[in-house]
C-alpha cells in the first residue's frame, strides 16, 4: 500500500472512511517511513528495531540490490536478533502474528521460534498459483504447523475473489476477545498481505471500488481496520490499546494502475525515492493520543520497537545498535525529535534525510535491461540525473532536495548555492559517523536453494499426506535483479 492510497492522504476517490476516521481520532504521520523499500527487510527491521544492514536482511551478491525471502531463500532472521515480541514477553505479553511473516520460512526462522506465541498466516508471499512441481503452493500455518496451502485450501480465485482478509480479520477479533477475558497484555502483529499482488478481495467488496480491483482490496482493508477499532472500543479496552497502521513499502508502481498510489512522491517500491519508503501511517490510542493530531516527526517503522518497549516498561537491548527511537513523547505531547533517516538498498546507503533535506549518495531506479523488459519503477516519471538507470554515485557531491517544498524530488538544490553548502556540511558528518560505526550483520539473503522450499512443512503429514518431495539440493547465490 502506498502513502497516497488513503483518502486522508489525498487519494481522489476517498474510499477509506475508516482509516480517515482513525486519523481524525488519532495522530497522522505524513513523514513516516519504512526502513527499506522492500517487504522482508522492512519487516525484519520493524521487528528487530534495526536496519536490515545490521540484522542481516540484505545481500551482498551484488551492489545495492533489493533482496527478500522467496521460497528458495536459505536464510532468515538470525537467532541473535531480539525481536519485539521477545522483548514484550518480559513484560508478560502474549504475542500473536496474523498474516505474512516473511522473515524466513525454514522451521528455525518461524515466528514461534522468535517470540510469538501464536501464528495464523503464511511465511512467504503467495505468488502463484504454482504447480507444486517446480514450486510448492505456500503453506498457511496455524501456530507451528501447516494448516493447508494457498490456492488448494485457502482459495484465491482467478477473478480475485478470496475470503483471506476476512479470515485474518476474524482471527484478529477472536484473539482480541479471548485476550480480554484473560486480562493479559497482548501484542497483535496484524500483517495481512492484502494489497500485495496477486490482488484479492472477498465477494462483498469485489467490484465496489471506483479504482478497480486494487481499490476493492483497499476498501476491504479499510473495513477491517474499522472492525478492529470498533471491537476494541466495544470491549472497553480502547483507552488501553495503542494501534498503529502502516505499510511495509511504497506502492508497487511497476504494477501500473493495479499497484496503488504514492501520492505526490517519486517512484515506488524497490526504490529509495520517497515513493518507495514513505508510508501511510496513523497512531490511535483514545484518551492518550488526542484526536486530530498531525505529527511531522520523521518516523520509521523501527521506532515501533523502541516505542512499544518503553510503553510496556521493558528495556531495549544495550549490547547492539538499535535504530528505532522512542516516539512516546511524540504520541503523547506531539513534540518532534530531529533524527537522521537512512535509506538503504541492499548493502548500500543510498540517501539520508535530516529535517526537510534529503541527500542522495546514490541514485538508481533499475537497470536499463530490466526497464527495457517493461519493469518500470517510476512510470510516467523521468527526472534527468535523478531517476537514473545506471547506479550513479553522487557521494562526493550528493543530490540534495528539500522534500517539504519538493516532495516529488524534482528540483535538486544547486550545488553552488549557500543553502547546499550549509546543508551538506551538516549532513556529511552524520553520514560519516553512521558508516564508521556500522557493523554490517552477516547477510542472510545471499543463498538460494530449491531444496529448502515449502515442500514438507511441519504438520504436512497430518490431514492427509500433504508433504511434497523436495528436489536435490542446488545451493547457489541468489540473483537479485533490482
Amino acid at each position: 500500500m502506498g502513502w497516497g492510497d488513503l483518502g486522508v492522504f489525498g487519494e481522489p476517490n476517498k474510499e477509506t472512511p475508516n482509516l480517515d476516521q482513525m486519523a481524525a481520532d488519532g495522530m497522522l504521520f505524513p513523514d513516516f517511513y519504512s526502513a527499506n523499500p522492500l517487504c522482508s527487510p522492512s519487516r525484519a527491521a520493524l521487528l528487530s528495531g534495526r536496519l536490515p544492514i545490521r540484522n542481516g536482511f540484505y545481500s551482498d551478491n551484488a551492489h545495492a540490490r533489493n533482496a527478500y525471502t522467496p521460497q528458495d531463500i536459505v536464510g532468515g532472521i538470525p537467532d541473535e536478533e531480539i525481536l519485539l515480541p521477545e522483548l514484550l514477553k518480559k513484560a508478560g505479553y502474549i504475542n500473536k502474528i496474523v498474516g505474512k511473516w516473511h522473515l524466513g520460512h525454514r522451521a528455525q526462522y518461524h515466528p514461534l521460534k522468535h517470540g510469538f506465541d501464536e501464528w495464523f498466516g503464511a511465511p512467504n508471499c503467495h505468488f502463484g498459483p504454482y504447480d507444486d512441481k517446480t514450486t510448492p503452493n505456500i503453506p498457511v500455518y496455524r501456530n507451528a504447523e501447516m494448516a493447508g496451502r494457498y490456492y488448494e485450501d485457502f482459495k484465491i480465485e482467478k477473478n480475485g475473489e478470496s475470503n483471506l482478509t476476512q479470515m485474518y480479520l476474524q482471527e484478529a477479533l477472536t484473539f482480541l476477545q479471548s485476550q480480554h477475558s484473560k486480562d493479559q497484555p497482548f501484542f497483535l502483529y496484524w500483517a495481512v498481505d492484502a494489497t500485495h499482488d496477486p490482488l484479492y478481495a472477498s465477494k462483498p467488496f469485489l467490484g465496489t471500488s471506483r479504482r478497480g480491483l486494487y481499490g476493492d482490496v483497499v476498501r476491504e482493508l479499510d473495513y477491517t481496520i474499522g472492525k478492529i477499532l470498533s471491537t476494541l472500543i466495544s470491549m472497553g479496552v480502547a483507552n488501553n490499546t495503542l494501534v498503529f497502521f502502516s505499510s511495509d513499502n511504497g506502492a508497487a508502481t511497476y504494477s501500473k494502475e493495479a499497484g496503488g498510489s504514492n501520492g505526490p512522491f517519486l517512484c515506488g517500491k524497490e526504490t529509495t525515492f520517497e515513493g518507495g519508503m514513505r508510508e501511510p501511517s496513523i497512531a490511535w490510542w483514545p484518551g492518550h493520543i488526542k484526536p486530530r493530531q498531525v505529527s511531522h516527526q520523521v518516523g520509521s517503522l523501527m521506532d515501533l520497537y523502541t516505542t512499544l518497549a518503553e510503553l510496556a516498561g521493558v528495556d531495549i537491548p544495550t549490547d547492539r545498535q538499535i535504530d528505532g527511537i522512542s516516539l512516546v513523547n511524540t504520541l503523547l505531547t506531539n513534540t518532534e525529535k530531529e533524527r537522521p533517516l537512512f535509506y538503504y538498498r541492499g548493502n548500500q546507503l543510498m540517501a539520508v534525510r535530516i529535517g526537510p533535506y534529503k541527500a542522495h549518495l546514490w541514485t538508481w531506479t533499475n537497470s536499463i535491461e530490466e526497464f527495457n523488459k517493461g519493469v518500470n519503477f517510476c512510470p510516467g516519471e523521468e527526472i534527468p540525473g535523478v531517476t537514473t538507470h545506471n547506479q550513479t554515485d553522487h557521494s562526493s557531491q550528493p543530490l540534495l532536495f528539500n522534500i517539504n517544498k519538493d516532495p516529488g524530488e524534482k528540483y535538486p538544490i544547486r550545488s553552488t548555492t549557500a543553502e547546499y553548502k550549509q546543508v551538506i556540511q551538516n549532513i556529511m558528518p552524520v553520514i560519516k559517523e553512521h558508516l564508521s560505526n556500522l557493523k554490517p550483520g552477516k547477510p542472510q539473503l545471499n543463498f538460494c536453494d530449491p531444496a529448502v522450499m515449502n515442500w514438507a512443512p511441519p504438520g504436512c503429514d497430518k490431514n492427509g499426506n500433504r508433504c511434497l518431495k523436495a528436489p536435490p539440493s542446488n545451493l547457489k547465490k541468489c540473483v537479485w535483479d533490482h
Copy 2:
C-alpha cells in the same frame, strides 16, 4: 492553487486547517474542474456559465492556444453575456467583487458594467514590477475609479511581503457585516490573486510554512477563509449563506516548487491534463449541506452560475447554451448527475470526460521551442505519446484513460480492448453532438495594442495626476505561445 495544495487533498505538510475544517463541515468535491486551464477564460466561464468558446474568451490566431487578458488585450467580456451578478440582481442581490477581475480592463468591460455593484481590486494580473514606461503598473480600483497602483500605492516588497490579502480579507468582512445590517441578499465574489506569481504574504505569514514562500501564501489564504467562515457564523447568517471555494486553474507547475501541487494529477496550468483543470473545491452551507460529505459529482465552475441562479430563484437565460448544470440536488442530497465535461484549449476541444473515462482528442504540453527555453508544464513527468510537444491529433482514435483508476493519465486503455471500443462508442456521439451544436462566440482575445494598457484609468486624475501618456496605437494580433 492546485488540487494537491490542500491538506484534505493530500498536501503532505498539512498546512490548511481552515480549508480542511471547511471540508469536514461541508462537502468536498474531488472531481471538480475549471472550464479552462488558464485564468481569464476560466473566470469568464464561471461568471457566464458558458464555455470560453461560446463567450468569446479564446483566440483563433493560432490553433489550440491559451489566451488571457494581459494589459495590451483589446477585448473583454461581451455585453451580450449575461453574467451571474446580472442574474442575481433580478432577485434583489447586491453583488461585490473583491480581487482580480480579468475579464477585460478597458472601461466598458469593468465589473460595474456587468452586474457588480461594488469592486475593490485589479483588472489584470500584477506581473511586475513595471517601469511605467513600456508598461504601466496595474491599477487597483475602488468601484469605478482607480484607487492607486500596485507597487506604488499597494506595496509588494521584493522579499514577498505584502498586506494585499489582508486588505482583500478586510474588504470582504466589512462588506459582509454591512450587508447583514441591510438584510439584503448578497453575492460576494472573493477573487483574490494570492498564490499567483509573484508570490506575496503578509509579515505574520512570511517564513512560517514548511513549503517556503508558496506555502506562506497558502497558509494566509487558508487563514482568510477561516476568518470569512467564522464571521458568517458569528453574524448568525451561516445557515443562509452558501460558500464555495475553488481555484481558476491547476497549479503552475512551470514555476517548479514555487508553483503549487496538483497532487497525483498530470502536468498543470495551461494543459488539459487533469493537473491543469482539476480544482480543490469545497461547498459549505451549515444546516443545508451535511458535514463530512464527499461528492464525486463531475462538477465545473460553470455550475455555480446555474446552481446559484436556482437557489436565488431566478431563471437562467434560455436564448443561449448554458454549459453549467444545477448542483442544488448534489449539495442538498449528495446525488450525482452524469454529464460530459469538455476540456478546451483556445479554439480546440482537446478532451472529454464522461463518468470515469477521459478521451483525449488532442494532446499538447507546449512547443519544443518553449520547452527548450525552460518552460515545462509537466516537470519530472514524461508519458510517451501523451505529454507530447507536438500538437498531436488523436481524434480518429482518442487516447482513453480511466481517471478514477489512473488519475495520473499514465496508462492509456489499449484501443484493441472491448472496454476501449465500448467507451469510445459512447463518447463519440457526445462529442459529435457538442461540436455540431457549437456556435463559437466572436473571439475576444485576438488583438493586442499597447495603447489600450492601463495608462489612464478612470479616476487617474484624482489624488494628484496619476494618468500616464499612452503610446500611439499599434494594433496587432496577439502572440500566444502556449
